[in-house]
C-alpha cells in the first residue's frame, strides 16, 4: 500500500491566476503576425515564398563576404557598399513587402478574425499598431539583416571600419534599415487595407512600388519634368536617403535625385505618415463585425 497517492483536479475550471496588461495583446498579435507571415508553425508551402525572397536579399551579401574572405588583396572599395546594397535588393524588398503586408492584414478580414480580435482587449488602433509592429519586424529581416551580416563579416575579415568608426556605421545601418522598413511597411499596409484578397493586395503593392518610379524617372529624364517629381516615387527617394545616411554616392558619382537632403528626408517621412494615415482611415470605416 502506498501513501504517495494524490488526487489531481484536472480539466476546465475557473482561472484566478495572473493576467497580462492590455498592452500585452499588442505584442502577442505582433508576434503571431510575424510568425504567420514567415510561415512558422504552418505547412511547408507557406514557408517557400518568404524563404526564397529572404535568400534573394541575402545572396549578394554572402557573395560579397565570400569574395572578401577568399580573394587576396581585397580592399573595401571592391566590395558592395552599404548604400549600394539597399539599391541592389530593391526588387526583393518590394516583393517581400508585397508578400508580408497582404498576408498580415487580408486573411483577418476574409476569415472574420478581425471581428474576433476586436471583440477582445484590442481596439482598431491597437490592432493596427500590432499589425504594423509585426510587418515592420519582418521587414527588418531584409532591411537590416544583410547589412548587419556584412558589417560583422567585414569586421571579422579585417575589412570593416575601425573600432572607433564601427558604432557610427552601426547607427547608420540601423537608421537606413528602420526608415526603409517603415516606408515599405506603411505603403504596403495602406494598399492591403483596401481589400480582403491577398493576391489583389500583392499586385497593388507591386504596382505602387514599381510603376511610379518608372513614370517619374521617365518624366524627369526624358521630358524635363521638375526634379521635385521624384518625391512621388518614394522607394526611389528612400534609396537616395539610404545613400545619404551612409555618406555615399552611387557609382556614377551623381546623387540618385537632385533634391536636398532635407527634401529627401521629408519626402520619405511624409510617405510613411501618408501610408499610415490611409491605413488608419480605412480601418476606422471598416465593418469588422458580422
Amino acid at each position: 500500500m502506498t501513501t504517495d497517492a494524490r488526487l489531481y483536479d484536472l480539466g476546465y475550471r475557473g482561472y484566478d491566476g495572473p493576467r497580462d496588461r492590455p498592452a500585452r495583446a499588442i505584442l502577442t498579435l505582433a508576434e503571431f503576425t510575424a510568425r504567420r507571415v514567415l510561415g512558422l508553425g504552418r505547412g511547408a508551402r507557406h514557408k517557400v515564398l518568404p524563404a526564397i525572397t529572404l535568400a534573394i536579399a541575402f545572396i549578394p551579401a554572402f557573395f560579397s563576404v565570400a569574395f572578401a574572405v577568399l580573394v587576396d588583396d581585397v580592399v573595401a572599395q571592391d566590395l558592395i557598399s552599404y548604400g549600394d546594397y539597399m539599391f541592389i535588393i530593391g526588387s526583393a524588398l518590394a516583393l517581400f513587402a508585397a508578400l508580408v503586408a497582404p498576408e498580415a492584414l487580408c486573411p483577418d478580414k476574409r476569415t472574420g478574425m478581425l471581428g474576433l480580435y476586436l471583440a477582445g482587449p484590442l481596439d482598431r488602433n491597437r490592432y493596427l499598431v500590432a499589425k504594423g509592429l509585426g510587418v515592420v519586424a519582418v521587414m527588418f529581416l531584409i532591411t537590416l539583416g544583410p547589412l548587419l551580416f556584412m558589417l560583422l563579416a567585414y569586421v571579422l575579415a579585417g575589412l570593416g571600419p575601425s573600432a572607433a568608426e564601427t558604432p557610427k556605421l552601426l547607427l547608420r545601418i540601423l537608421a537606413a534599415g528602420i526608415v526603409t522598413a517603415l516606408l515599405y511597411a506603411s505603403l504596403s499596409m495602406a494598399v492591403s487595407s483596401f481589400t480582403s484578397r491577398r493576391a489583389a493586395a500583392a499586385v497593388g503593392v507591386v504596382l505602387l512600388l514599381f510603376v511610379p518610379v518608372s513614370v517619374v524617372r521617365s518624366a524627369i529624364e526624358s521630358a524635363g519634368a521638375p526634379n521635385e517629381l521624384d518625391l512621388l516615387s518614394s522607394p526611389f527617394v528612400a534609396f537616395d536617403l539610404a545613400y545619404r545616411i551612409f555618406g555615399e554616392t552611387p557609382e556614377d558619382a551623381d546623387p540618385v535625385t537632385k533634391l536636398s537632403t532635407w527634401l529627401v528626408t521629408g519626402g520619405v517621412l511624409a510617405a510613411i505618415v501618408a501610408g499610415a494615415l490611409v491605413c488608419w482611415y480605412r480601418y476606422r470605416r471598416l465593418e469588422a463585425f458580422r
Binding site: L10, Y12, G112, G115, P121
Partner: protein, 301 residues
C-alpha cells in the same frame, strides 16, 4: 437586489435612415439568457453594442457594471464571444487557435496553453485538438468557437447562433454543453438565437427582440406561466373521461385527445380515479402552461 449583467435603457442605434434598435430596454441577469428574435430583429446589433464595437446613438448601456462605449477594453477583457460565422483560420490547429485567442485575452502563454487544452477537452475535442480547423466539420468548429470563448474564463459569454448548421443530435449535445458551462462554472451566458425551442430547453430567462425593441423579457418560468389547471392526455376514450370529470364538477375543455381542466383543489385525485375507473392508459398529466412559442406569438412577434 442583484446587479444586472447587462442593463440597457432606451438604447437607439441607427444605420443611416434604418433604425436597428429603437429604444431597447432590457435587464439581463445571471445564468443563461436567450436573446431571441427573427433575423434582422436587432440581436447582432445589440451584441455589437454590448461588446463596445459600435457606438449607440441614444440611451444607456452597462455591461458588468461598466459602459462598453467608454470602457471597451476593460469590458471586453471580461467577455467571451463566439460569432455566428464559421470562417476560422483554416490551417491553424484547434489548440493553436484557442490558445492564441486566450493569449489575446491577456492570459500568460503557459496558462493559455493549459486552458486551451482544458477548454477543448471540455467541449469534447480533446482527441481532435491538434487537427487544423479547416479540416473540421461544422459541429466541431462550433465547439472550437465555444472553447475559444471560454478559455480565458470570462464572466460573460456571448454566443451568436451556436447551433447553426448542426444536426439534431449535435444540437442537443451543444445545448447540454452550454447549459453545463452556465450552471457548473458560473459563467453568465447570452445565447442569441432564432430557435425558440433552444431557449426553452436551456435558458433561465429570455429577451425577445423584434423591430429593434424588446417585446417580452423575463424569467422563462414566469413567461410560461399560463392559466391554472391541468392538461390530461389518455390513450383512448377521452370523451368518456371528460364526461366523468365534468360530472365530478370540474371544468373540462376537450381539444382532440387532450383535455384541459380548470383549476380545482382535487383535480389530480379526480383524474386518477376517473382514469382508473375507465381502465385507460394515461399519457400526460401536467399543470397547464404556455410554450415559448405561445409567448413569442402572443407578443405580436
Amino acid at each position: 437586489m442583484e446587479q444586472a449583467v447587462v442593463s440597457a435603457r432606451g438604447v437607439v442605434k441607427r444605420y443611416g435612415r434604418t433604425v436597428a434598435l429603437a429604444g431597447l430596454d432590457a435587464d439581463i441577469g445571471s445564468g443563461i439568457t436567450g436573446l431571441l428574435g427573427s433575423n434582422g430583429a436587432g440581436k447582432t446589433t445589440f451584441i455589437s453594442l454590448v461588446l463596445g464595437l459600435r457606438s449607440r446613438d441614444e440611451g444607456e448601456l452597462t455591461v458588468l457594471g461598466q459602459d462598453p462605449a467608454t470602457a471597451g477594453i476593460p469590458v471586453r477583457s471580461r467577455i467571451g464571444y463566439a460569432p455566428e460565422h464559421h470562417d476560422l483560420p483554416a490551417e491553424l490547429s484547434a489548440t493553436d487557435f484557442v490558445r492564441h485567442l486566450a493569449e489575446m485575452h491577456l492570459l500568460p502563454r503557459r496558462a493559455a496553453v493549459q486552458r486551451a487544452n482544458d477548454a477543448l477537452w471540455l467541449v469534447g475535442l480533446g482527441e481532435e485538438r491538434f487537427r487544423p480547423v479547416g479540416l473540421m466539420s461544422t459541429g466541431q468548429r462550433q465547439r472550437v468557437k465555444l472553447a475559444s470563448a471560454i478559455a480565458h474564463d470570462p464572466e460573460l459569454v456571448l454566443l451568436d447562433e451556436p447551433t447553426d448548421g448542426l444536426d439534431p443530435m449535435q444540437r442537443t449535445e451543444m445545448l447540454a454543453l452550454i447549459r453545463r458551462i452556465g450552471t457548473e462554472f458560473g459563467v453568465h451566458i447570452v445565447l442569441s438565437s432564432h430557435h425558440l425551442e433552444e431557449a426553452e430547453r436551456i435558458c433561465d430567462a429570455v429577451v425577445i427582440v423584434e423591430g429593434g425593441e424588446v417585446v417580452r423579457a423575463g424569467a422563462l418560468a414566469d413567461l410560461r406561466r399560463g392559466p391554472e389547471g391541468l392538461v390530461v392526455e389518455v390513450d383512448e376514450r377521452a370523451d368518456e373521461l371528460a364526461s366523468i370529470l365534468r360530472a365530478r364538477g370540474l371544468e373540462v375543455t376537450a381539444d382532440g385527445g387532450v383535455l384541459l381542466l380548470g383549476a380545482a383543489e382535487d383535480a389530480f385525485d379526480a383524474v386518477r380515479d376517473a382514469v382508473a375507473d375507465l381502465g385507460v392508459g394515461l399519457r400526460r398529466l401536467e399543470p397547464r402552461g404556455r410554450t415559448l412559442e405561445d409567448v413569442y406569438l402572443g407578443a405580436g412577434a
